[in-house]
Symmetry: C2
Subunit: 309 residues, 2 copies
Amino acid sequence: MGLSVTILGANSAIPTATRYPTAQVVDINQSRYLVDCGEGAQMQLRRNKIKLQRIKAIFISHLHGDHYFGLIGLINTMHMLGRNIPLDIFGPPELLDVLNLQLDLADTKLSYPWTFHPLDFGESKLIYDDDGVEVHTIPLDHGIPCNGFLFKEKKRKRKLIRERIGELNIPLEQIPKIKDGADFVDEKGEVYPNSALTTPPKRSYSYAYCSDTQYNERILPIIDRVDLLYHEATFLEDRKERAKHTKHSTAKDAATIAKKAQVGSLIIGHYSARYFDFQDHLDEAKEVFEHTYLAREGMTFDVPYKNKK
Amino acid sequence: MGLSVTILGANSAIPTATRYPTAQVVDINQSRYLVDCGEGAQMQLRRNKIKLQRIKAIFISHLHGDHYFGLIGLINTMHMLGRNIPLDIFGPPELLDVLNLQLDLADTKLSYPWTFHPLDFGESKLIYDDDGVEVHTIPLDHGIPCNGFLFKEKKRKRKLIRERIGELNIPLEQIPKIKDGADFVDEKGEVYPNSALTTPPKRSYSYAYCSDTQYNERILPIIDRVDLLYHEATFLEDRKERAKHTKHSTAKDAATIAKKAQVGSLIIGHYSARYFDFQDHLDEAKEVFEHTYLAREGMTFDVPYKNKK
């Protein structure tokens, strides 16, 4: 149970033999969501032993290829493996044209129901909602329309005090209501307040994903105090001009956003292919925000933070 | 010098953690051509230390995704790395729409001149021609329009007998003509026939690539006596019905074509993801055609055949 993020690709636009373009799996209470889908994401899912048919929804931030060129291959493979459960895909409206064109050319009708949800880019919106999570957009500033995504775990239910349930012989059908906060009234009409039957739930967690963006304080209210923030850090400060020109961030930019938003922990990634080592990124960010970690292919970050590999 | 084929992907439609969809590099006298470009081909080029900027032309057989989903990423990476030498791309006409749509959405104008050459599918045609090679299409039979490609190394020049050149004091500017077969006339008007100055060139080699096809004897005259044939062998004979239904070949089909065309050696590949070992493919093919070899990611086949790894 809980929230975790697995990095499938941590590189920016140019992949190498071992570094993949952006893709991440967000796991919230065992429901799985894919965030961006660079080329090779489906192979990376397999390498990391993540069942691709368990992905419920896919969120694409923008239409630079390093964030979506792997999508058509992934949805095609889901089809060839006989998927029948629905898939929701969120992204810029034109993404639907790209998918439909390629499916039509191969005469492919996907084996499963899929729904494409075109996104707009003006302000933060609630775009997805299921039993366990809400997803909101985070409008970013990157030259072409680009959204980040905020995952907010839904408020968990209160926890039953098992002994009290037994003592009072509470009927099974009442249990869900009690978890939702109801009091219990027994046959004699005696009222047992909810606080005597349950304890408060663990707090719910949140994750903000900011794919490609230049330094942008307008996102601060949206990502305020999230438990975990991923923020791109394509460059170091010594390439500040290059960062501005390409509308990307430096490690210091990412850390400054993390600090101002008072987030729990920061993951940085989307490294330019010019870097072969990321210690300087880490050092630069940590000077501003201590709880910074480097994204690397195959790593899983848990909330609260515990680095598995 | 010579002809070689490096396998970047030997799997059929569904990639795994280690098995990639179809892509091959054909190297003829140090000019490089890419044949098909499944997802991940650019990473496979890097893993195999093949400089992607040295690829002169790309040939796409058909628009099933496992043969071209890696193309947009590759041409994009060539651009981001600052390529300026021209690139020729050959494929079904609609491929241009797929590329243009994705380039336009990212506002990308490629840094190098590129020419798209739409192919048709009715009969074998000469489609490409440079100093060292001719490429012809091989119309295949696969449900959607599909071409294989025949690479014919051009006739090499005659080899000079160095001693004779020295003895006769032949001026440098005459050498190319003599390599082309001209006689030499010295200052006194004495004629030395070309056969006294040169020896015949080594023979030229040929490679035929048959990507996806059901058993089809109409290709026999086109691939007649090629030195090396790649022919797909998605299934084994016990799945003959499945092969027919999906318009693919069995290992026996591939070997029968190799035998009837009297080719030098046969490479089989495009294995269905249902197989985890290909010894049965090899055994089935070898019963019909002894000089059969299994394609695996990272292998290079030289002509005449010598398996490097």
